[in-house]
């Protein structure tokens, strides 16, 4: 009896050291898992099961529709233009904000955040008002250069760049601010050129945060609906991106169109999942790196 009692006492002492009772702990963990399952896992499962409802063959047949392939290619094209643009912009903006002190700096930071707070629909409409073919700028571009911005691919790219503007800059600014200018000053005082300092000192210091920002930016660029919907004009096979094509399929009646809608959604969700996995891995990697950088100071 005493043998059996002794470990029990010890276990109780262990429990006392933690603040919550096991029941509360289990309840909290259970609740979190339940909410995650309800809000995230179930919809995800629904997307994939709807896509495969009529079998894998039917799901894959989606991509035999030229409209579907056009939508996938357009989405990839838009992301391939928008992400590098915002990469350059994000690094430049973060550099300016984090490494220099100048009047209006706080205002600039607020401005970078603007796309987060403005509804994407508003962003799309503003571009129509500014650059539509019947506006002075849009008319001039169309007449003199035969370039169509609105209701064409350039407009979709513009809208996507606007919406995904802050992602990379927002990742870099806090990190670069925290790191300060010490490393760069050291590099410069040892005779490195500005460019060399950037490539060999600044960039390695922020590379994980940068990659993380690029992933987020890319995920949003491929998934953007609102701004693109306003600016696209829904020209099938031309200005319809994957999210728009999903809606078009969903509004058709044929059972195969519903499958097509969810197949496209599954592809987007799959891309998002891959992004998430890479992101999680990066966060872990990036935490190590950050600790090492900090430790060096």
């Amino acid at each position: 009896m005493s043998d059996a009692n002794a470990p029990r006492v010890r276990r109780r002492a262990l429990r006392d050291a933690t603040t919550e009772s096991p029941a509360v702990r289990r309840l909290l963990i259970g609740l979190t898992i339940a909410i995650l399952a309800l809000l995230l896992v179930m919809p995800l499962v629904a997307v994939f099961s709807q896509a495969l409802r009529l079998g894998l063959d039917q799901a894959l047949a989606t991509f035999q529709d030229p409209d579907a392939m056009d939508a996938v290619l357009l989405t990839l094209l838009v992301a391939a233009i928008a992400v590098p643009c915002n990469l350059v912009f994000g690094v430049a903006a973060a550099w300016a904000v984090a490494k220099y002190r100048f009047p209006g700096r706080a205002f600039l930071v607020t401005l970078i955040d603007l796309p987060f707070s403005v509804s994407p629909v508003v962003a799309g409409m503003v571009y129509i008002i500014l650059l539509g073919p019947f506006t002075p700028i849009g008319g001039w571009l169309l007449e003199d250069f035969n370039i169509r911005i609105i209701f064409a691919v350039p407009g979709i790219v513009l809208a996507t760049i606007f919406v995904t503007f802050p992602f990379i800059a927002r990742e870099l600014i806090p990190l670069m601010q925290e790191q300060g200018t010490g490393d760069e000053e050291a590099a410069l005082s040892l005779g490195a050129s500005g460019l060399r300092t950037f490539w060999h000192t600044t960039l390695p210091n922020v590379k994980w945060a940068l990659l993380y920002g690029v992933l987020l930016c890319n995920a949003r660029a491929m998934g953007e609906f609102g701004a693109v919907a306003v600016i696209s004009g829904k020209l099938r096979g031309e200005t319809v991106t994957m999210p728009l094509q999903i809606e078009l399929y969903y509004q058709e009646f044929r059972a195969s169109a519903l499958v097509a809608a969810f197949t496209m959604a599954a592809v987007l969700a799959g891309l998002a999942l891959i992004t998430l996995i890479i992101k999680t891995w990066l966060e872990w990697r990036y935490a190590d790196q950050l600790a090492a950088t900090r430790g060096g100071h």
């Binding site: 129509i128 539509g132 073919p133 019947f134 849009g138 169509r148 609105i150 209701f151 004009g233 829904k234 020209l235 099938r236 096979g237 031309e238 078009l248 969903y250 509004q251 058709e252 009646f253 044929r254």
Partner: protein
């Protein structure tokens, strides 16, 4: 000629021919944009394929035909904002008139194509759930307690305007011409509408896929499509005692077609809608063809007998109906408040 000369000549000819074939293809891959209303996706997808094949046979030119669909009011705005439509196929004259007012379509477009530039018509019917649980038979049943009605927003959807006007015409006739009674009736009707979608297809989704509402006031073609694609067992069509003749209007968007150099295609595309083949396709897609003699008999037999009033008879034409009912500050704005 020696054998060698012949070979060289034939090679040169082949090269010239393939160059000739390749050059126009590169230079002439012209694009035709049809901006249309919401439920015509299936019709113009099918017609576009037929037309493109015919054009290729006759002119050796491969066309790139693109369609855009949405609530027609919203589509009108997009065209006025610069959506490069070569032609429009809209559910009512009012939408084309709005583009004419914007200066993109020249006056007189209604005389450019047969039947007042209207290659087909449709009308408005009710769709109810299986067994018609609320016993809906006519317009006045829609304002029973507890009945929820699905119809799109007349501000953005052409079909929704026909719905509104048909309801108005019903009450006007029932009361012997009492406009105030008609207004009260329509106001009461919109109090039964839980969701105003921007286009007819959006409303169909609300009713069918989201399961909202008891009655869907619908295009006849959309109603048939629901029954045909989703099984006769789940929905029923109810034909009211009175409905409205909805004339679909088509027009070339003159400014765009001329600047893009596509007038010849746009002209042929719209003329083609009156051919026996297209009229047959139109009927097969549940629209009422102008020339039913060209359509399959069983397609024509599907259309129920409805007493149809016209917009000219009851509302004095689209210009007046639009100004009185749907323009900003018009009767719809007075009777419908979303809050």
């Amino acid at each position: 000629m020696t054998k060698r000369t012949i070979r060289v000549a034939s090679l040169a000819t082949a090269a010239a021919l393939s160059l000739a074939a390749a050059l126009p293809a590169a230079a002439q891959s012209r694009e035709l944009v049809n901006v249309s209303y919401d439920p015509t996706r299936e019709l113009y997808r099918a017609y576009g394929e037929i037309f493109a094949a015919q054009w290729r046979d006759e002119h050796g030119e491969t066309l790139n035909i693109t369609n855009s669909h949405g609530g027609s009011g919203a589509q009108v705005n997009a065209v006025l904002d610069g959506l490069p439509a070569d032609l429009v196929t809209f559910p009512l004259a009012g939408d084309v008139l709005a583009i004419e007012r914007g200066g993109l379509i020249e006056p007189g477009w209604e005389a450019e194509f047969p039947e007042g530039s209207s290659p087909y018509t449709s009308t408005i019917v009710f769709v109810v759930r299986a067994g018609n649980p609320h016993g809906i038979e006519d317009w006045d049943d829609l304002i029973q307690d507890g009945v929820q009605v699905i119809t799109p927003n007349p501000k953005t959807s052409g079909g929704a305007r026909w719905n509104y006007l048909a309801a108005w015409a019903y009450e006007l006739e029932r009361t012997g011409g009492d406009a105030q009674a008609a207004q009260d009736f329509v106001a009461e009707l919109y109090r039964h509408v839980p969701v105003l979608d921007s286009g007819a297809r959006g409303s169909t989704n609300t009713f069918v896929q989201n399961g909202v509402g008891d009655v869907f006031i619908s295009w006849e073609n959309e109603a048939f499509l629901i029954l045909n694609e989703l099984g006769e067992g789940q929905y029923e069509i109810v034909v009211p005692s009175i409905s409205i003749l909805a004339e679909i209007k088509v027009a070339i968007v003159d400014v765009n077609a001329d600047s893009k150099g596509t007038r010849d295609i746009a002209q042929a595309y719209l003329e083609g809608l009156y051919t026996p083949e297209a009229q047959q396709l139109i009927a097969a897609n549940y629209y009422r063809p102008r020339y039913p003699e060209f359509a399959n008999a069983e397609d024509v037999a599907r259309f129920p007998e409805v007493r149809l009033i016209t917009i000219d008879d009851v509302f004095g034409g689209w210009v007046e109906a639009q100004a009185t009912h749907f323009d900003d500050g018009g009767i719809f704005d007075q009777i419908y408040s979303p809050f």
